[in-house]
Structure formats: C-alpha cells, structure tokens
Symmetry: C2
C-alpha cells in the first residue's frame, strides 16, 4: 500500500487561500471562535491520526476481511483499537450539536477530517461515517427523549449507527420496500423484514448499534409516500440509558465483496424488533432527503480519496522504477535506464490523477461550505442560496468524483505495469475499494437523472443558472487578465455552451420524456468537466496571484498553474465526446427490441 | 458468474458472412479440406467444451486460487481434469504442424476456440495458451532434435510450455535483463537467474513443463542485441524422450493477484538449470518478435472475452431486475416495477458492451485471418501484405480491445448496481480478471509507442496507408448506397482525418521526438475508434444486404444495424476528445518539474 501522507499543503491552499474558510466560519451562526490556528491544528492532528493509526490497517484489513460466526461480526485486527482512540480523541463528536455533547464545529471540518481518514483507510472510515447519518437524522427529527436516549452515545462514539434502506428486491426503488412496522400498545413498533447491504450493520467496535430503519406502517399508502423512519437499537436500551437484552435484529450474514472488505456489509433480519417512530408517519423518505446531499458529498470524497492515494503511490513508483530511455535521449545516463517519470505517457496518467484529486477536492470543499451555510448561514437568503447550490452540485460531485476516482485508481495500477496487478503493492486494492463508490448512495445513472430531471428540468434551468452565474461572474472579473486568458476564454465559452446544450435537451425532453434518460449520464459528465474547469481556473487564478506577489513557494504555485493547464488542454476536451453522445438522441438506445440484444 | 453461452450466431456471421472464411482457408497452402461443415463442427464442439467443462470452474477457481506448498503448485479443483479432457479431445494439437502430430488447421481456428475457452474461464485458458507460444517458438527455431524431444509432447499436450522474459527489475525494458547462460562442454548451457510473472510456470496439470527462457551468453553485447533464447525443461528429458531427474529450476513462490487467481503466476529461480540454445545466439528477441503479434492478438481476445461475458451477465440481469418505471410510463404495469432494461441508461451500458464485444471480435477475426496469410498465404505478395496489416493493427487490437474490455466489464458491474460489487454474482470477477489485459504483453502505453513510433513514423505512414486504403475502397464502393450513408459518410471523413492528423503529429515529432510519447495513447485510442468504425460499417453493410435479400433472421440483422448506429452515434465521437488531447502537444506533460508533482 502506498504510505498515505495527507496533502496538507493542498488542503490549506484550498481552505485558506481559495475559499477563505476562516472568514466563512466566522460568518456562520455560533462559530466565530473557529480561527485559522484551530483549523490547522485539526488538520494536523487528523493527518497524524490517519497516517499513523488508520493507514497501517488498510492492507491488513483487506487481507483479513471481516469475520462472521454464529451471528457475530468481528472486524479485522486493530480496527477496534483504532476506533477506541478515535473516540477518545473526540473525533466523532467534532461536528455534532453541543446540546448532546458535540463540539459544534462546522460540518465542513468533518469533511476535511473524513477525507483524511477515508484516504488512509476507507473501510475503517465507513464505521464512524455511518454513525453520522444516524446522528444527523436524530438531531433533526428525534424527540427530546430519543435524543437523550440515543444521540448522546452516538455522538460520544460509544455506540455507532446505521442506515437501513435497501432490501433484497429493491435499492434504488425504495417505493417498493416491504419491511413492516406494527404498532404496539406502548407506542413502540414491531419491525419485521430483511435489509441488505447494511454497512456497519454489525461489528465488535461498540457496545450498541442504533439502526435507522425504513419501514411501512400497516395503513401506509403504496410507494414512496408510505415509508416511515424508525430507530431500532441492536440491544434494548433501558430508560436510564443502560443496555438491556438483545432486540430482535439479527445479522444473517456478511457479504463477500470486491473491495472495502474490512467494512462489514450485513444482511439484517428484523424479526419483530422493537423500534420507535422518528419523524412524522409516512414521511420517512422526506426526512432522509434532508441528509441525502450530505451523504452523497461524503461518497464523492471516496472518489478524491482514490485519486489522491493512487496518485501518491504511482508518483513514488514513477520516480523509482527504471525502464527504457527518454525518447529525447537518456536523462540519467549513469543509471541502467531512466525512471519512468521521464516518459510523457506516465506523466499523462499522473497528471490525470492529480487533476482529478485536487480539482475534485476544490469542488468538495466548496460544497462542504454550502453544507455549513445551509445549516448555519447567517440569514435565510444565504441558507437558501447554499441549498440551491447543493441541490445542483451534489449529484455532479457524487457521480463525477467517483467516476474519475475509479479512472484515477486504474491509472495507478497502470503506472505500476504488471506489478500493479499484484496485491502486495496495494494499488489494485484502491481500484477494488473505490469500485463501490459509483454504485452506492445512488448509482451514477441515478445521480444523472436526479441532476437532469429533477434539478435542471423541473426548475426550468434555475439551479443551473445559479451556478453558471457564479462562473460567468468569475470570467467577467478576470477577462482582462492576460495570464489567465488560457483558462478564462475556454471556461466562458463552455459555460455559455452548457446553457445552450441544456436548452436543447430540454426541448427534446418536452417532446419525449425518455430523452432525459438518454442524455442523463453524458450530460452529468459533461457538466462535471465544466464544473471542474471552473474550480481549476479558480485555483490557477489564486496561484498566479501568489506568484505575482512574489511568493517563495514557486514550485507549488507553478505546479497549480501547470495542472490547470493540463486539465484544460487534456481533460476538458472530453466534453466534446459527451456532448456528441448526449445530442445523438434516445432513439439509438430505445430502438432495439429487448429480444434482439443477443442471439 | 453469468452462465457463458458461446455467441455462435455472431461468430458464424463474422466467419461466413463477413469474412468468407471457407474461401479464405481454401486459398491457403495445404488447407483446401477445411470447409464450412468442419468449421461449424469445431465451433459447436468448442462451445460445448467451454460452456460445460470450463465455465463451471470459473468462479470456484477464483475463490480457491492456486496453492503453493514446498515449492509445488496445485491448481484449483477440476482444472487438472478439464485439461485432461482438453488434451484427449485433441484441442491443443489443432493448429500445430502436422510433422509433430498436430492437426495442421489454420491458426485462426485456434483464435476462435481460444476465445470461447477464454471467455468461459480465462485463468484456465492461460495454461494451454502459454504452450502455444512455446510450440510456435520451437516450430520456427528449433533443431530437428529439439522438435523431436520437446515439440511432440507440447503439441499432444502431455507437457505444457512457458515464456520466461520478465525479471524483478525489468519487464518492458528487456535490454537490461540479467539472467545468464554459461556454456557446458556438451553444448548445453547452465541458466542462472530469477524470472517473475511466469504464467503456468509451475502446476500439476502436466508431467513436464518446457520453459523458453531469455538469457545472456557470457560474451553477449549489452542491451537487446545480447539476448538469447533457451529451452529449459522443468524435468530433464532423456535421449529417448522419457523424463529424468528434476532440473535446477525451482518455483520460489506464486503471486497473490487482483484477478486470474486460478492462473499460477510464478517466480522461477533458475539455479544453474540445464538449457539448450534455440535459434542463433544474441538473436533471442528477434526470434520472439516473430510471435509477438500472435501473442498480442491472443491478449486482445481477453478484451472481447470480458466484453462478451459481462454483456451476457448484464443482459440477463437487466431483463430480470425490477426497479422504477420507464420515464414514458409503466411498460409492465402488472409488475411491481419495470425491468431495468427499459431505462435508456441501462441500454447505453449494454449497447456499449455489445458494440465493443462484436466490433472487437470482427477486428480480431480479421487479424486472425492475417495470421493465417502470414504463415500460409499462397504467395509472397499476400504474405507480405498480411504481415504489414498485422504490424499496424496488432497494437491497436491489443490495447484498444483490452481497454474497452475493461470498460465493458465495469459497465457489467454497474448494471447490477450494488449487487455488482458482491462476489457471488461474478460480475466483479470479470473486472478483476481482465484488469491484467492492459498490462501484460506490453502495456497500453507500450502498444501506443509501438504503433505511433515504430509502425507509423518509422514507415513514414506506409502501414497506416495500407489499412486506410482498404477503408477508402470500402467507402467508395458503398458511397451510393443510401441505406449505408449514415455509416459511410462519417467513416470516410474520419479516415481522411486520420491521415491528416498523423501528418500533423509527424511534423511535430520531427521537431521534438518527445511529441510521439505525448500523443501516443490518445493516438492509439483515436485510431482504435476509427478502426472499429470500419468493422461496424462492414457488418452493417452485410446485415443490410441480408435484410434486402429477404432473410428471415430479421431480428439478428436489424440488431446488427442498430448496434452499428449506436456505435457511430455514441462511441465514435470519443475520437473528438482523443484528437484534442493528442493535438495539445507534449509541453503540458513535460513542463512540470519532477519535484513539483506533490508537496
């Protein structure tokens, strides 16, 4: 496994120099004490914990996997101990509300820390990651009693949480889920049904697990409008908060997966388990949607984690491995051959990884600020503006960052040649681990329909305009800057084309709804490349500025500009293929008779 | 694992209707008895063997993997028995020379059978696959005694073979290999060195293994011009052909890999092992190059195998799995939801797999015919023309088919949603197994340099012109056909652009050699999409013809035309991105200082 080293300089560049995070935090409600010193201390501590405690368990966790015996799940060696330290250091409580013992730091600090944890060891990071969903759900929809009973220990990390949505016959299509909730006389419910793909559904890291379960009440309407949310603890919780007997929820098995093998993916059988309604009846999906954006940004992080880690591994190898000579003559004649980083194609792969890691990081940090603003913006206008940006950019970030993360991980293997295929080096594990990222939390296809159908079409393009206005403003502000011309000109052109393309697709969709599905994924990827072009132009601008101001960090800032240039010249043109494909119309997809696909 | 079903109808369409293989065979030297009945019988028997004997061992072979204990490699359960049947049925001897007991069938029949074997179970197919390399080497360069002693049993399949090239410090760069060969008084050599990544390097399927080893003689010049080839048997062979003591070649370990886990990848330690020079001294690489094209086409097959198998699996699931409703209203209102094949994006993925599988198969079958012609063409002109086509198209086929095979395998996982990540379904195994295909037998980057540097630049574009003339002739012949206009027009335009682009790249390379490396992979992929466009137009033409003639197989031929249309409208536009990237020049790759890649 490549030894993970948190890219602190890049993180600080984005947080402080590009996004002025200190000013951003101080404008939030109740966060005026979060200053640069605190931010940097958290990053440094988070880096240390990730590099020293989590990274060393990444390969061993993959080799060992989780164990399942007699209904009990055991995590790989060292996982439990690392989690104990995580809890002791207060990481889990960092961004939770102060009322239940949280530290009340802005959500975006959590994103930064979870990026480091997850890049060091994604499987491990799944366990605390899932707790966050449960915490946010109870924070928003729980009664004071539920908060008292469940939230405090979730926040402290003594207990962990899960989100139980998927069933064997349905994942994307939650409208057809079957788990049922029958009311008891005491106000509780008996939950019965089978849930699958439950991450952290059972394990040995905490004393109790709080499941948030989607189920149907007896009189519930069919479809998505008849789903309610329930809190179902693994072990009963007594009124004084102590743990009682086992509840009727049993882990039936764990999945054998391609990757993230150290993350327990459980089949959970609810056999009349005692649960508690949370939020209004039949409004469970709405309650969940509140946090869907946050969860999806959390998954987008997996994409940049894969790009970053595979970049680090490939870069080390490319500097070290000797093979062939540079086409323009030996660069290291004293060596048996040149290190492969002299070869342009190896650099093409490295720069692709770097461009996706750093560009995606910029997009995600920007989105994380929007999460802060949605939750703690100073006024309704800023909260609403942030919510609109989130709504539009989240499906792009989730799908685009995970797709390009997978591509980057594959480049990492490719740079190693045949050695990339050997488990020992750890590069292939990154591909396997990150392969799930384009699937869970809504596949790329689901994100694409969400973007084009719900976010763009249903708002008549309003949400797109919100973002493209920001891009437009940036272009106008910088159009006179000769040093930025190579970025601003194409960005402005693409931004305009984006709007035109959207209008065209919209017109087609009016005539035939299916056109949305036919264009969606290419439209999303097209939008993703343009979005990242903005974030690369933004970084280039800041870097140029620093260089003009006479910064001594010439190497760092020059590399930023060069990576932006690489992005604009080598990756942004991919919009051409996606544009042609999405403009080709849906007929070439729908014309074939189902029976004629194969003979 | 998807249950593999050999796509016999498609294979026959290509062999008989597109490529007139019967006529082709009868024009070869000594193959006038190969007729359609024989060809079809071989395909049907090959399909039966692959589906019934090999496919059932694919998942179990992956789960079990190979075992290594006390220097001995054991293959997974059933592998040995399947190999025994393969030998008994005479499959191994099918395309070998008659002099040593082969059946003397054309090489391209071997490609067709190996495609079926390999799609059913690539790991298993590696064992007999490696023998072919050894057989061809000894057939071409062995002395009569070497043929008598080693070739007969390799052909019968009693023994298997390997190719020992790679060493720990070198794979691509064989010029720096270190294994040494010291002459003995009796004319044999003592071979000493370590070889890695030796597929089928040790196993329990045959009584002996014949290693073909690259090594240096004591007085050998440095670099690639000082490498010789040696035959080194695992067990000594007595003069009467019986097996003697163990030779000094020991399996040190087997690799733990991402995929093809049932294929033993060995570290072989040659400890003064007795070997025999084959071919002239210091000309080993030249002797190997004779078969490099064949081996690379064999690896290209892995790409279409992955595309075909993942397509079959995804198609079954897409018809079966219910989720959501079609955007234009329920298609199966009686069901809980629509099968996901109603969704355009699922079809986009399926059609991409289908287009790469069937388009790549056409390219590979065409190339396999060129192999026949190189070996057994009726006259020198046809042999040379075929050799030129091979030289140009082989790197394209190897890299393009394996890259698109990997993409297709990933689509297969994606169609399954979260279930694609679960080992049980077998879809993720296809991704893991085929991941090696872009790495071994020369990475995509190596193929790209071979194409643009050696095949295109060094011949001043002559080899490209050979092929683009064929495309041009096809376009001219069919330009009046209104039904083909949608294919011929873009194909003709792309074919012209291909030449222009090549000229441009050539001019840049004159000024700066590095431009070749900067453009190579994008140039290869660009060329691949145009090449496949030709093979899709060709298939569309034949299908249109059959429909016009009133064939009753309307569904099959209509699907061919529709898949061609999908290819032209949705995949061929990817040339736009590759073109822009390759035209952007090498500066955006080389400008960054090595020390500035990361901070």
């Amino acid at each position: 496994m490549p030894q993970y080293k948190a890219p602190i300089r890049d993180m600080q560049f984005l947080l402080h120099e590009v996004f002025n995070v200190e000013g951003h935090y101080q404008a939030l409600r109740g966060n005026d004490e979060v200053n640069r010193e605190l931010i940097d201390a958290i990053i440094e501590e988070g880096a240390r914990f990730s590099e020293n405690e989590l990274a060393p368990l990444c390969r061993s966790g993959d080799e060992e996997g989780c164990h399942f015996e007699n209904g009990v799940v055991t995590t790989p060696k060292g996982f439990k101990e690392a989690y104990k330290k995580y809890v002791e250091n207060g990481w889990g409580a960092m961004t939770a509300h102060r009322e239940q013992g949280g530290q009340g730091l802005p959500a975006s600090m959590g994103t930064v820390v979870s990026e480091m944890n997850g890049t060091a060891n994604w499987s491990w990071a799944m366990y605390p990651g899932l707790s966050h969903g449960a915490i946010r759900t109870i924070e928003a929809h729980g009664t004071p009693e539920q908060k008292e009973l469940f939230l405090t220990k979730l926040i402290s990390g003594e207990w962990t949480g899960t989100m139980c949505l998927t069933e064997p016959h349905c994942g994307t299509d939650l409208g057809i889920l079957r788990t049922k909730a029958e009311p008891n006389a005491d106000g509780s419910y008996n939950i019965t049904g089978t849930k699958i793909f439950i991450s952290a559904g059972d394990h040995d890291m905490a004393d109790n697990i709080v499941h948030i379960v989607l189920a149907r009440l007896p009189d519930a309407p069919k479809g998505t409008k008849g789903i309610s949310l329930f809190i179902v603890p693994k072990n009963h919780v007594n009124a004084d908060g102590s743990i009682g007997d086992r509840n009727g929820v049993v882990c039936g098995s764990i999945e054998h997966k391609m990757g993230i093998k150290a993350s327990a993916t459980c089949v959970l059988n609810f056999e009349g388990a005692r649960g508690f309604l949370i939020g209004p009846p039949n409004r469970g999906l709405n309650c969940m949607f509140t946090f869907m954006n946050t969860a999806r940004v959390g998954t987008a992080v997996q994409g940049i984690a894969a790009a970053e880690l595979s970049f680090q591994g490939a870069l080390t190898y490319a500097k070290d491995r000797l093979a062939m000579r540079s086409l323009s003559g030996p660069k290291f004649p004293e060596k048996e051959a040149d290190p492969i980083i002299v070869h342009p194609d190896v650099r093409r792969m490295l720069l692709t990884q770097k461009a996706f890691a750093e560009g995606g990081r910029a997009l995600i940090y920007f989105l994380a600020q929007q999460i802060d603003l949605v939750e703690e913006g100073a006024d309704e206008t800023s909260r609403q503006a942030a919510d609109d940006l989130m709504a539009f950019l989240t499906p792009i970030a989730k799908a685009f960052c995970t797709e390009t993360g997978l591509e980057s991980a594959n480049h990492g293997v490719q740079v190693y040649g045949g050695h990339g295929f050997i488990r020992e080096w750890g590069m292939e594990q990154i591909v396997r681990d990150t392969r799930i990222a384009t699937l869970y939390e809504g596949t790329t296809g689901v994100q694409a329909i969400d973007l084009l159908g719900r976010k763009v079409m249903l708002t008549q393009g309003r949400l797109l305009k919100n973002f493209s206005k920001i891009v437009h403003k940036f272009c106008v502000e910088n159009e006179a800057d000769a040093a930025l011309k190579e970025f601003i000109e194409p960005l402005a052109a693409m931004n305009k084309e984006w709007g035109d393309t959207t209008t065209q697709v919209g017109m087609r969709a009016v005539a035939n709804q299916e056109e949305v599905g036919g264009a969606a994924v290419d439209y999303l990827m097209y939008s993703g490349y343009i979005t990242l072009a903005y974030f690369w132009a933004l970084q280039a601008k800041v870097a140029q500025q620093k260089l003009a101001e006479g910064s001594t960090e010439i190497g760092f800032y020059t590399a930023k500009v060069q990576t932006a240039r690489f992005y604009f010249q080598r990756l942004l043109p991919r919009t051409r293929s996606h544009l042609a494909a999405l403009q080709s119309g849906v007929a070439n997809l729908l014309d074939m008779d189902v029976d004629n696909f194969a003979f």
